[in-house]
């Protein structure tokens, strides 16, 4: 049965796309969670919808067939522009990042629906982009996905120490003379590319789930930044491939299946994590240091007894 699935050319393309998305989305998601910008992916996704419609409009104007030939390039451009805009707003500090995101959400959806109407389509045409259409991935789409994923991974992994520094403590990074503004823009642009990579697999409305949920799962079982990223990638790949395989036999939406599966894993892991972490700590968490006050003899004895208990 599995060989049947693996020999299906449609499925081969879909699995490869899912694999790439499963790796890249959590890499970028780790930085977004680290900067407490978990919803940035959603904001970019909404703006990308305007880009899809804009690409459609331009394509229609140029008389291209199929009329959505420029939809993905349009999404890439709009997502990159939108993500850099968010970073500019955040830097200026005039509007809170929260409000700026909210305005992008609304503007992105409204702009998309408005423009697709002008282009002679209907909002129904947007559905495949909103919820994904992995079964219609073409060879050209796949190549674009491969190239964009390679770029995202090269930056996300190659610059991980610098991106960690900037995301962890921006003021310290500035006081270290790091090119903080450039690194922030890099994170924003890489997020935008990831959104467009994942668009075909899970759809713009669910893109962010693939960036964030694997990270949330990884956080339950690890307490280090590097391990969190690695674990999230493994979870992302497993969830994407499993979810997609399920839809080969059952006629359900791949994007929704993948996301529901991820959230189910999250629920199970959060129930099990407390049991796993109940291992004994390696050493007494209280360092044995002299107190700042002189203790009476009885207190000193009690302190010695307490130290023994912790050992």
């Amino acid at each position: 049965m599995i060989t049947l699935m693996l020999t299906d050319p449609f499925m081969q393309r879909a699995l490869l796309a899912a694999l790439l998305v499963g790796v890249t989305a959590p890499v970028v998601g780790t930085y977004l969670v680290q900067r407490k910008l978990s919803l940035l992916g959603d904001g970019i996704g909404h703006v990308a919808l305007t880009g899809v419609a804009l690409g459609w409009l331009v394509g229609a104007g140029m008389g291209l067939t199929p009329n959505d030939a420029l939809a993905i390039p349009g999404a890439v451009v709009a997502a990159v522009v939108g993500s850099v805009l968010i970073e500019v707003v955040r830097r200026r500090g005039r509007t809170s990042g929260d409000l700026a995101l909210a305005i992008m959400f609304y503007g992105g959806i409204a702009g998309g629906v408005l423009l697709i109407g002008i282009a002679g389509g209907s909002s129904g045409n947007l559905m495949t982009y909103l919820f994904g259409s992995i079964s219609t991935v073409s060879d050209a789409d796949l190549w674009l996905t491969v190239v964009l994923s390679a770029v995202v991974l090269a930056i996300g992994v190659g610059l991980r120490h610098a991106l960690f520094s900037v995301s962890h403590d921006e003021e310290f990074a500035i006081a270290s003379g790091l090119p903080v503004w450039a690194l922030n823009v890099v994170v924003a642009v890489v997020s935008a590319l990831t959104v467009t990579v994942a668009m075909r697999v899970v759809g713009l409305l669910l893109v962010s789930a693939l960036m964030i949920v694997p990270v949330a799962i990884a956080q339950q079982v690890t307490h280090a930044f590097g391990r969190t990223m690695l674990t999230a990638c493994v979870v992302g790949v497993v969830v994407c491939l499993t979810g997609l395989s399920i839809t080969y036999w059952y006629n359900v939406s791949p994007g929704a299946t993948i996301v529901v599966l991820a959230i189910a894993v999250y629920a199970v892991v959060s129930l099990l994590a407390p049991l796993l972490s109940r291992r004994r700590p390696a050493h007494d968490p209280h360092p044995d240091l002299p107190d700042d006050v002189d203790l009476p003899a009885a207190a000193t004895e009690r302190a010695a007894a307490a130290a023994k208990e912790c050992r």
Binding site: K36, H161, F172, A175, G177, L289
Partner: protein, 279 residues
């Protein structure tokens, strides 16, 4: 912190440039005028304590000196190089500057280990990836602050004082020539303060220059060569570190007078300057 550093301080002090040079520094945040014309010079090998009450502008000044705050007016030169527009000093040798913020920031949304946080101190200027042997350097820096056994512990599970020491290790790991510390021992127990003072003594003997914001001279008192006192955004004292209790008239005091009669001290006044009273 190297032997060459010591030679430099002992022999070249007369001719070498100031490590920090701030001229006519103003900083405004909205309507509040926080720094009102600060001139501050720190020469190589000095240990300068920056004192003053809460809200006197100490942290704002320190952040302006390392490029985090962009001053409204005035200039800052760090290691002889100007901090440019946007707070970025393209020509400053950032590998020679270590900064310890007042307290651990909220940190990120993802737990990180002591090793990961301290290692981020090895990145500076255009160095965007960790050098060879970074694990050993991180371990050595953690050793200096007495947290060598916590290298793989998540920072958010450490106590406040331990987190403070992680931040000190993060600044020390790049082996700076200039250390800028913002209340490094606030909330740190006396034993750890002593250990910190011992570490600082060793580094200063090796030629380290220090600018340290303090509320009380405390364990660092023997090291401090000069004190700068800020009040209402201006330098009101720049000279010998205060050694004894100080009594100040409420109106227009400029200097700190050693005062013989400790009993007449108004505690509220002494708190206004936040200089610790030491027996």
């Amino acid at each position: 912190m190297t032997n060459t550093g010591r030679v430099e301080t002992e022999q070249v002090t007369e001719t070498s440039e100031p490590v920090i040079e701030a001229r006519g520094l103003h900083f405004r945040a909205g309507a509040s005028h926080i720094l009102r014309g600060i001139d501050l010079t720190v020469e190589p090998g000095e240990v300068v304590a920056l004192l003053g009450a809460n809200g006197s502008g100490k942290s704002t000044l320190v952040k302006s000196l390392v490029g985090i705050n962009v001053p409204s007016e005035g200039t800052v030169r760090l290691l002889g190089e100007p901090l440019g527009a946007g707070g970025r000093g393209g020509t400053v040798d950032w590998g020679r500057v270590g900064y310890v913020p007042q307290r651990a920031g909220a940190g990120g949304g993802i737990p990180s280990t002591a090793q990961e946080v301290v290692a981020s101190g090895l990145l500076h200027g255009r160095r965007l990836s960790l050098p060879r042997g970074w694990r050993d350097r991180v371990a050595a820096a953690l050793e200096q602050v007495g947290l060598a056994d916590r290298v793989h512990d998540p920072v958010h599970l450490l106590s406040g004082g331990q987190q403070q020491r992680i931040l000190i290790a993060r600044a020390l790991v790049r082996e700076p020539d200039l250390l800028v510390l913002d209340e490094p021992v606030a909330g740190v127990d006396v034993a750890s303060q002593e250990a910190f003072a011992t570490t600082m003594r060793r580094l200063v003997d090796g030629g380290l220059t220090v600018l340290v914001v303090l509320h009380e001279l405390g364990e660092l008192e023997p090291l401090v060569t000069r004190a700068v006192v800020l009040k209402h955004g201006k330098v009101v004292h720049d000279g010998a570190p205060p050694q004894a209790r100080h009594d100040h008239d409420r109106a227009g005091h400029r200097h700190q007078h050693p005062h013989a009669d400790d009993n007449s001290l108004d505690p509220a006044e002494s708190r206004a300057f936040d200089l610790e009273v030491r027996p």
